[in-house]
């Protein structure tokens, strides 16, 4: 961390062109706060008052002059704007101002924050555009984090909360005109929302699923290269990556012959491949006549069969449960079958038909026991209905006897 700090400080110096020692100290004792009525800045800048009373900076006692300079104890414009007054900082100036504290490990340590944001930002496409090319389309700190109302990312109202990150990035990346200038697509946000990751984040509130920053990085935002995609996905999908690497596709991806995970799944959409589309997907690269499509068809058959077995087992369990039979054992077997099915989904990335067949057998043996139990129950139910025959035979003969007798009495 220490060599990094020196490096960062040097960077700050080059970016801002001024000494870090000139920055205002972050902590003062006995100071006026923007909430106080005698605090000078908010007499005119009343619109900023509410914004700056909340958020992490206000909680830490950081006041307007920490970034903007000037003298909050003055109530008139001219004396208040004296001193190292900054006013509204530009994009590069903002970067310098934030980095004054946020690139300083000694100040960040107490909050458990890293101080490498600026260093990371310089490596990102955003940073390259802003710092080296001076391109004002590129975002600076406040474009993503807000200028005054900065909340921790655990706060659901924060721009950097997992559910808000896609919209935060989308402010620019959803803008077709702006992205068109750089030859970038602008449909990432829409595709992400509909994809497996987007559904997990927005619908299931599963914040373990990645948002934009999960794959691209936040301050060091860059799209991963083709060679890196498998590693990026493999950070979460560990077992899939292992299975993939063991198979022929993985070996080809390792020497950059093909595109890793992106060969079959899209990057922002992250769709699952439907079980009945596996062979077609193989054919889309290998050609319909290829030997590989035959293998793909066999894999597809295994997956589809296992899925069908599971569906039938679910129906059998529901049927038994609706009749009031205890189904704990069957549910336990179902979990065993489902575990094998999940392994099957993993192992298919290695294209090893032998392993797939073995797992398919495990699914089948467990589900067939469930189904045979259900069939025995259905047979019992059928036998119950046979009771209707003696029941109505007795009832009708009784009624016939009685009504015969009644008619006789009536005469």
């Amino acid at each position: 961390m220490i060599p990094g700090t020196v490096h960062t400080l040097m960077l700050v110096a080059t970016v801002a062109g001024s000494s870090p020692a000139a920055a205002a100290p972050a902590h003062r004792t006995q100071q006026l706060m923007p909430a106080d009525s005698t605090y000078g800045c908010v007499i005119c800048h009343a619109d900023k008052r509410r914004a700056f009373q909340q958020g992490v900076h206000a909680e830490r006692g950081i006041t307007c002059d920490a970034c903007h300079g000037g003298d909050p104890s003055q109530v008139e414009v001219a004396p208040a704007h004296r001193g190292r007054f900054v006013g509204a900082p530009g994009k590069l100036e903002t970067l310098r101002l934030c980095s004054t504290c946020h690139a300083d490990p000694d100040q960040m340590r107490q909050f458990g924050l890293s101080a490498d944001q600026l260093a990371e930002f310089r490596t990102s496409r955003h940073g390259q555009l802003l710092i080296t090319q001076g391109n004002m389309d590129a975002p600076t700190c406040t474009d993503c984090h807000d200028a005054h109302l900065i909340r921790p990312s655990t706060d659901a109202r924060s721009n950097t909360h997992p559910t808000n990150i896609p919209a935060t990035c989308g402010r620019c990346h959803d803008d077709a005109a702006l992205m068109g200038k750089y030859g970038l697509p602008s449909d990432q946000l829409a595709r992400y929302r509909e994809g497996a990751h987007g559904v997990a984040v927005f619908q299931d509130r599963n914040f373990a699923a990645p948002t934009c920053t999960g794959c691209h990085g936040s301050h060091a935002a860059l799209p991963p290269g083709i060679a890196q995609v498998t590693d990026v996905c493999g950070r979460c999908h560990l077992t899939l990556e292992r299975a993939f690497a063991a198979g022929p596709h993985g070996r080809a991806a390792a020497v950059s012959i093909e595109r890793g995970c992106l060969g079959c799944h899209s990057n922002h959409g992250t769709e699952r491949v439907a079980p009945d589309a596996i062979a077609d997907l193989c054919a889309s690269c290998h050609g319909a006549e290829s030997q590989m499509v035959v293998l793909g068809g066999e894999i597809q058959e295994q997956v589809q069969r296992a899925e069908e077995d599971l569906t039938l087992a679910t129906e059998a369990i529901e049927e038994m449960a609706a009749e009031g039979h205890p189904v704990e054992d069957e549910r336990f077997r179902y979990v065993a079958a489902f575990t094998a099915f999940q392994q099957l989904a993993e192992v298919q990335h290695s294209l090893s038909l032998e392993e797939l067949e073995d797992l398919g057998r495990q699914v089948r043996s467990n589900t067939s026991i469930i189904r045979s139990t259900a069939e025995a129950r259905a047979e019992e139910r059928w036998e119950h209905k046979l009771l209707l025959i003696p029941l109505w035979f007795l009832a009708l003969s009784g009624i016939a006897f009685a009504s015969f007798k009644l008619r006789e009495l009536g005469r």
Binding site: L149, G324, L391
Partner: protein
């Protein structure tokens, strides 16, 4: 050959019948007597034999016929419920943890447990229908008029008891369907203006149906209500005997004969009456056998499905009611709102008041337009509301709060087809709009 066999069978049957009829006059209790039960001091002091023979010889007025059957059917179904209920109580355990598993045990392990349970369920439904049919007959035939007005009141109390039996028994399976239907019924009670909410909480003993509710519903169902029902039934039947059966509608009420005891005196017998034995006995036999056969058939063919064990945290996406009054109240709340429920309840209560107001000797329906209108509104309304509730009634009103909560299945798709459009708009980013503001 065939004819001879038929003749022989016929002769045997008629001999058997002669034996039975002849033994009735002398000693129907022959077998009991044979066992020595009715000889000696018991028979001499209580005169059971004499009482039985008297009641068998009892003559009913000639107009008494098939339309008087629903009352008997109601009683038969009540006895069916008592017997099956006792059998169920042997294995049922009234606690949140054990209620559902104990029912699974009854249905899947106990011999004929499945039948007992479903007969209990179906008899509970059919008894409401039989009871209302009996009530409609009494109402439209003006059988509630003096001197039988007390019995009409008792009958209405018995209706309330039967409905209370149903509402308390409904919770006992403690599965999702029963749990949320009782929640619905409690909501319906909560819809009663002013007092509703507090009343519902008192009934449940909690703010939602819980273990406290299960305990008190069980106690009501198997201890409190049966005693009330038996007491009311005893009173009901006694009054039927003392006041007699109402004359036909065209005929005005004759002078009431106030009998000193429940037993008839031979001089009271209508000259043209039909004796209870064997005529009415045979009719009762036919009706009883049919009732039992229908109940058993329904139980065998349409068992009540088990839903998952009750879970207060999981609102089912759809509820299918399996008890008649639930459909009725559901239709009322949906179609007419909470005041509609109250008004229909008041209409039911007005039937209680009718015998107090309507005491004239007129018995023909055309001469009693107000009463006829009230009765038609209630009985036809009940049937119509039941049908309406049945048709509309799968999703309870309270399930709407869970509208967004049910899981949307994740549909795997092919890479090139887009996923179905879901409304996943994230909340607008908070704070003031920044870009540009700072620049």
């Amino acid at each position: 050959m065939l004819r001879r066999a038929f003749q022989a069978t016929k002769r045997i049957v008629s001999d058997l019948w002669y034996d039975i009829t002849s033994s009735v006059d002398s000693s129907l209790l022959g077998s009991a007597r044979f066992l020595g039960l009715l000889y000696g001091p018991i028979d001499r002091s209580l005169r059971i034999n004499e009482a039985l023979r008297k009641s068998l010889k009892y003559r009913l007025a000639p107009h008494v016929g098939w339309r008087h059957a629903p009352g008997g059917i109601t009683y038969l179904l009540f006895m069916v419920l008592v017997v099956t209920g006792v059998l169920l109580a042997l294995f049922y355990r009234p606690s949140v943890e054990e209620a559902y598993p104990s029912l699974q045990h009854i249905v899947s392990v106990r011999p004929f447990g499945w039948l007992i349970r479903d007969v209990h369920h179906w008899a509970a439904n059919l008894i409401v229908i039989a009871l209302l049919a009996h009530m409609a007959r009494v109402f439209f035939e003006a059988a509630y008029k003096p001197p039988r007005e007390t019995n009409w009141m008792i009958g209405l109390l018995l209706l309330a008891v039967v409905l209370a039996f149903g509402s308390t028994g409904y919770l006992l399976p403690w599965d999702q369907s029963s749990y949320w239907t009782v929640t619905e019924v409690m909501h319906a009670i909560g819809h009663i203006p002013v007092v509703g909410r507090g009343l519902a909480d008192r009934i449940m003993g909690d703010v939602i149906p819980s273990g406290a509710t299960l305990s008190r519903f069980f106690a009501l169902h198997v201890i409190v209500l049966p005693w009330i029902a038996f007491a009311l039934l005893g009173y009901h039947f006694t009054l039927v005997r003392r006041r007699g059966i109402a004359p036909p509608m065209e005929q005005p009420e004759e002078q009431p004969r106030w009998r000193g005891s429940g037993l008839f005196r031979p001089e009271d017998l209508p000259e043209d009456g039909v004796p209870f034995f064997p005529n009415h006995m045979l009719r009762s036999f036919i009706v009883g056998v049919l009732t039992l056969a229908v109940t058993l058939t329904l139980a065998i063919l349409f068992p009540r499905a088990f839903s998952a064990a009750a879970d207060p945290y999981l609102i089912p996406p759809a509820l299918v009611s399996t008890w008649v009054p639930v459909d009725v109240s559901l239709a009322l709340i949906r179609l007419a709102g909470s005041w509609g429920l109250v008004l229909f309840g008041l209409l039911g209560v007005s039937l209680l008041i009718v015998p107090i107001v309507d005491r004239g000797p007129e018995r023909r329906l055309t001469k009693r337009p107000v009463v006829a209108a009230l009765g038609i509104a209630f009985f036809v309304g009940y049937v119509a509301l039941f049908a309406a509730g049945r048709i509309m009634g799968t999703v309870p009103p309270s399930a709407s709060i869970g509208g967004g909560m049910e899981e949307l299945p994740f549909e795997p798709t092919r890479p090139e087809t887009p996923l179905p459009e879901l409304d996943l708009t994230p909340p607008a980013p908070s704070g003031e709009p920044v870009p540009g503001g700072v620049r």
